[in-house]
């Protein structure tokens, strides 16, 4: 029996041009996805990613705008530098590269985020739960998952 992976979605509040998509993300996100909406991908402190990893998240998706379309001129460029480097570091300490996905959306991309989330979920399901670094995950009574 496989488990639905738990994933954290960091979403820049500007990256979805279509209000229908934003509405879906805000209100209809499946229960296994936790949304953290930020004003810009540049606002995502690497600390948040680390806490998500330590808390036992199976995957992290970061959705933001294309480089030339950032609402704050160069915020997403700062994010690319900071977060992509950080994900390399996570990979180094044992949190696989495949568990962190960046999604840079074009203004015209409509209905993409749903598809991308589904694809990411399938990928995480194949990888299985992430236990290596879940140091802050409360041990369930009766020991680790069988």
């Amino acid at each position: 029996m496989s488990e639905t992976p738990k994933l954290v979605l960091f979403q820049c509040q500007w990256c979805l041009f279509s209000s229908a998509d934003q509405e879906w993300v805000d209100n209809q996100l499946p229960a296994n996805i936790h949304l953290i909406k930020v004003p810009c991908t540049g606002r995502i402190n690497p600390l948040y990613l680390l806490n998500a990893v330590q808390g036992g998240a199976d995957g992290i998706m970061i959705s933001g705008c294309l480089p030339e379309q950032c609402h704050f001129k160069t915020g997403n460029i700062g994010a690319r530098r900071q977060l992509e480097e950080f994900s390399d570091y996570l990979n180094y300490i044992g949190y696989e590269q495949e568990r962190v996905r960046f999604l840079w959306l074009d203004l015209q991309d409509r209905g993409i985020i749903q598809k991308e989330l589904a694809a990411f979920e399938a990928q995480l399901e194949a990888l299985g739960p992430a236990h290596n670094l879940a140091t802050r995950l409360a041990e369930p009574a009766g020991g680790a998952n069988a």
């Binding site: 041009f17 279509s18 209000s19 229908a20 203004l107 015209q108 991309d109 409509r110 209905g111 993409i112 598809k115």
Partner: protein
Amino acid sequence: MVDAARQPLIEVKTFTEVEKVEGYVGNFVVTLREKAKYVRADRCNGCGACTKACPVEVPNDFELGLAPRKAAYIPMSQAVPLIYNIDMDACIHCYKCVEACGALEAIDFSMEDKLVEQEIGAIVVATGFSHFDPTPMTEYGYGRFPNVITAMEMERLNNSAGPTQGALIRPSDGKRPKNIAIINCVGSRDKRFNIGCSNFCCMYAIKNALLLKQMHPDAELSIYYIDIRTPSKGYEEFYDRARESGIRFIQGRPSEITEDPDTHQLFIASEDITLGKVIEREYDMVMLNQAAIPQPDQNHMSSVLNVAQSPGGWFMEYHPKLRPMDSPTDGIFFAGACQGPKDIPASVAQGSAAASRASRILHSDSWQIEPTVAVVWPDRCVSADGQACGICSRACPYGAIDYTKGLAAEVITAKCHGCGACVAECPHNAITQLHYTDAQVLAQIRTLLAIEPEKKILAFRCQWCSYGGADLAGTSHFEYSANERGLRVMCSARMDADLIYEAYRLGAGAILYSGCHPQDCHYITGQISGAKRAARLEKIFERMQVSPGRFRTEWISAAEGDKYARVINEMQASLDAIPEDVLKAEIERLRPEMSKRLTKMGEVPGVTQAMAQVDFIVDEMIGKEKGT
């Protein structure tokens, strides 16, 4: 078209390109390339057996690629003359068409392009316009979203003779669209692509919407617009009919079209200006009303015909208001959208006008032109002595000067329009312009600067623009300095450097070099040679340390009376800023340098005599005024 083909005095040459146009009004020699059709016109009866036999299918350009055609084809069913054609780029040489043609033997693969020379009296250019390809406007997703189509594609889809026999379908799934949007000004009124308004598309959008509404009463039609322009008789009434029939008009230019990747439904985001709110609406299909743009080979045609292009690329008329159907070259006329985007009534009117203008030439034994033409003194032309020169020929905007090394340059009088560019450019003073000879212009300068020249602002004005601007300043009662002395020449191209040097030598306080704005030049590119010379002069005077403000270049149109007055007043102010003794010392300092640059002027026939005459008359007059 069919009528034209039947008329015995009209010869219709299709699939023929104009290679070269030589000669002048009433006496053109035109070289035509009659392209090989690989079907003999004298034998083909238009039965279409070759098309049926042809196994090759390629996209049909007439149907904008929405349907295929064979390699043996006619471009469209109404083609005149009804003669088939073989597309050699697509043909696989199976010769099935030859078999199908049988005893008629109309198909001839050995045909080649033919070059034909014809003597022509007058030329009417009616090459039409082309459509802007909206692919570069990525925000509208044309080419990326299947249900975003162009106006011409909609035209074919909704045509009973079109690829779908008139069935309106969406390209993505073949279903009939219910909710259709039309977006106006796609690529027009857009400084990123085409600045101009395409003139007829507002009406065109309304026409298409009404037509669709009539065919499919349940369809919802929305037209997105910036402004609806329905300026002609009956047009507003047509717009009213569209409103009555329930077509929605949305003021607001869409900024983005997005598509649902599964259903291919389209979503248009725009501001509804009247609401002041951003709205997003869903549509089954979107039609982009593209800009009208010049034909892709308009630049090439422009050089073949030697007619200029307006900004934007359209052919330039002789005068935008008074002679909109004439080209600047005598004997060449424009009909329709090649001169600028226009609708059918305007094209028909201009076509008829152009035809009647052309027939005036065909019915005349002689042709009157402006008398201010250029004339070469063969004995002064260095080309006759075997020197390489040809400056005059290159300066002429009309190609009216024949230059052959070893022979004196020769002006083809019928082609000359009298701008005077050659006269000013000739380094040997070997050309003159009738009615604006060097002697005549110099005599005027001498007279205007006879008394207290250092206080005068000598204004060189071109006949068509800055002279009109000065005129307007006067009739509008815009006050400007009374020290201005205006001098008219036909074009800023005629404002010879020698004339400027002479004015300074005589002690002129300030000189204005003025003419048309580049796009308004009456003589195609005359202003450009004038502007180049002015820039050169500015550098020379800077090196000579002429006080700033004493030489000024300004382009002033006939509508800019206020600008003319302002420029003169500013020049007066900068002249006043120079202390009188400093100015006089400067004039004296520069006089020998100016004289040195003028040595050749004295050799020009008539100049010395004219100067003596002028001095005598002026002295007489001054003497009288002084009361001696």
